[in-house]
């Protein structure tokens, strides 16, 4: 299977990339690692006229410490997230989620920004970004703007990015005192999540002061499990209290039914995985 023909642009700056996208019009696409895009091109589910390869744009790659937050370039690869000491220290949830993406070969090419921009509801990074309250810097012809993770994911494979915009970086607030865990359920190695749960917990004096919980593949976008968070806030840090809170995980969710799992089974999984994720994040046994 061979992709349909397209023109190829390889900019070296963000401005050049934005210009190339604008010149390409609505049928131009950004190519980062290509691990989601190339399979789609090969199946001819998409046939862009121009691919703008941002692999050579230095500004887009790497992790830097920006005081109260980490700023992670959009083309930072999953394999980079796994090895990066700043990520390990300030946002280990991202590394844990990235480790679950595809396989070694995919993680060597696939990028954080690519996963987020592709916005597959079964992707592991979107939920982690929502749980961490990340914000996304976007560049377009009119300049730059910032969008919160909560507003970035609009629908199935649809984000707040306009066709002539690119994701530049992801800003992840440091959360001293918080601990995190990503729990994923899938059929076999390298498979997409049937359901995943990203949890962040802040404990105080033996109780849970605050929690943030985001669900993967329980709807067309990653979802905050608001009822779980409210139930956990101020509760005892015990297995029973967490299990009780986790029982609310599927409230308000409208999960898909597909060949791998029914919607009812996904609702069940959400409660089980939320319990596991919060217990692991909070170190509660």
């Amino acid at each position: 299977m061979i992709p349909a023909a397209f023109d190829y642009a390889k900019p070296s700056t963000v401005d050049e990339a934005v210009r190339a996208l604008a010149e390409g019009g609505e049928d131009a696409k950004v190519l980062a690692g290509g691990q989601s895009l190339i399979p789609v091109l090969r199946l001819r589910l998409a046939a862009p006229t121009v691919l703008v390869d941002v692999g050579g744009v230095g500004e887009l790659r790497g992790v830097r410490d920006d005081g109260d937050a980490l700023v992670i370039g959009a083309t930072t690869r999953h394999a980079d997230l796994l090895r990066d000491p700043l990520v390990a220290r300030h946002a280990p949830l991202l590394a844990q989620a990235a480790a679950q993406v595809g396989d070694r070969q995919v993680r060597h090419l696939g990028t954080l920004g690519g996963s987020l921009s592709h916005a597959d509801p079964a992707g592991d990074l979107p939920g982690a970004a929502v749980a961490l309250d990340a914000s996304f810097e976007i560049a377009g012809p009119g300049g730059r703007r910032t969008v919160s993770a909560a507003d970035f994911f609009v629908d199935f494979l649809t984000t707040a990015l306009a066709p002539d915009e690119i994701l530049v970086s992801v800003r992840v607030p440091k959360r001293p005192g918080w601990t995190t865990h990503y729990e994923k359920f899938n059929r076999v190695a390298q498979a997409w999540a049937i359901v995943g749960v990203a949890a962040a917990v802040r404990r105080e004096n033996g109780s849970i002061a605050e929690a943030r919980v985001a669900l993967t593949n329980m709807g067309s976008t990653p979802l905050r499990a608001g009822a779980v968070e409210q139930s956990l806030a101020g509760s005892a840090a015990t297995v029973d209290a967490v299990a009780s809170a986790a029982g609310h995980a599927a409230e308000g969710a409208d999960p898909p039914s597909d060949a791998f799992a029914s919607a009812d089974y996904r609702r069940h999984l959400a409660t089980v995985l939320t319990r596991r994720a919060v217990l692991a994040a909070g170190g509660i046994a």
Binding site: P3, A79, G102, R104, Q105, V106
Partner: protein, 181 residues
């Protein structure tokens, strides 16, 4: 057409390619590197795995233009110039880590990549490290044994004294080491 320059198994190739050309097709059809095979053609099976810039990638899911300026190692480039097999190749041979053999080039390249990062993996780490490679004959037991053997061979090789350097000007005397005052 886009001009690309890639080094494959130590040889540099400059070619004009269509941007839509997949790396695996470029390797096989333009450069004759047919040791790398196309298995599933859907990014799942890993049979087409090569090293790009020293790291494993599925060459059916890379555009040839993305490899511009990079070094590629295929299964054909692992053996020494005297034909001596790479320790991973030798271990696959010794352990009969293949049945039909179709997944073998990718399995070997993934194992080489894994051992470069983790020279002493547990069986569980080997299985997880090879999760991107499928053996439809389900010959995984011997594949894991072979990777374990290769790891041991490579660790033993790494701890041997380096072969004598070719004769050249004597090395400068080591700088005196200051002892803490």
């Amino acid at each position: 057409m886009t001009r690309i320059s890639i080094t494959v198994d130590g040889v540099r190739y400059d070619d004009d390619v269509q941007p839509r050309t997949l790396l695996v097709h470029h390797l096989r059809e333009r450069l004759g590197k047919v040791g790398t095979v196309v298995g599933c053609d859907t990014s799942n099976c890993g049979s087409c795995t090569v090293l790009m810039g020293g790291e494993s990638v599925k060459s059916c899911t890379v555009l040839a233009v993305q490899a511009d300026g990079l070094e590629i190692t295929t299964v054909e480039g692992l053996a020494g110039s005297d034909g001596e097999l790479h320790p991973v190749q030798q271990a696959f041979h010794d352990r009969h880590a293949l049945q039909c053999g179709f997944c073998t080039p990718g399995m070997i390249m993934s194992a080489v990549d894994l051992l470069a990062e983790n020279p002493d993996p547990t069986d569980a780490e080997i299985r997880e490290g090879l999760e991107g490679n499928l053996c439809r004959c389900t010959g995984y037991q011997n594949i894991v044994r072979a990777v374990r053997d290769a790891a041991a061979t490579m660790r033993a090789g790494a701890s041997e004294p380096a072969p004598a350097a070719p004769e050249e000007a004597p090395a400068p005397a080591p700088a005196p080491v200051e002892v803490g005052s």
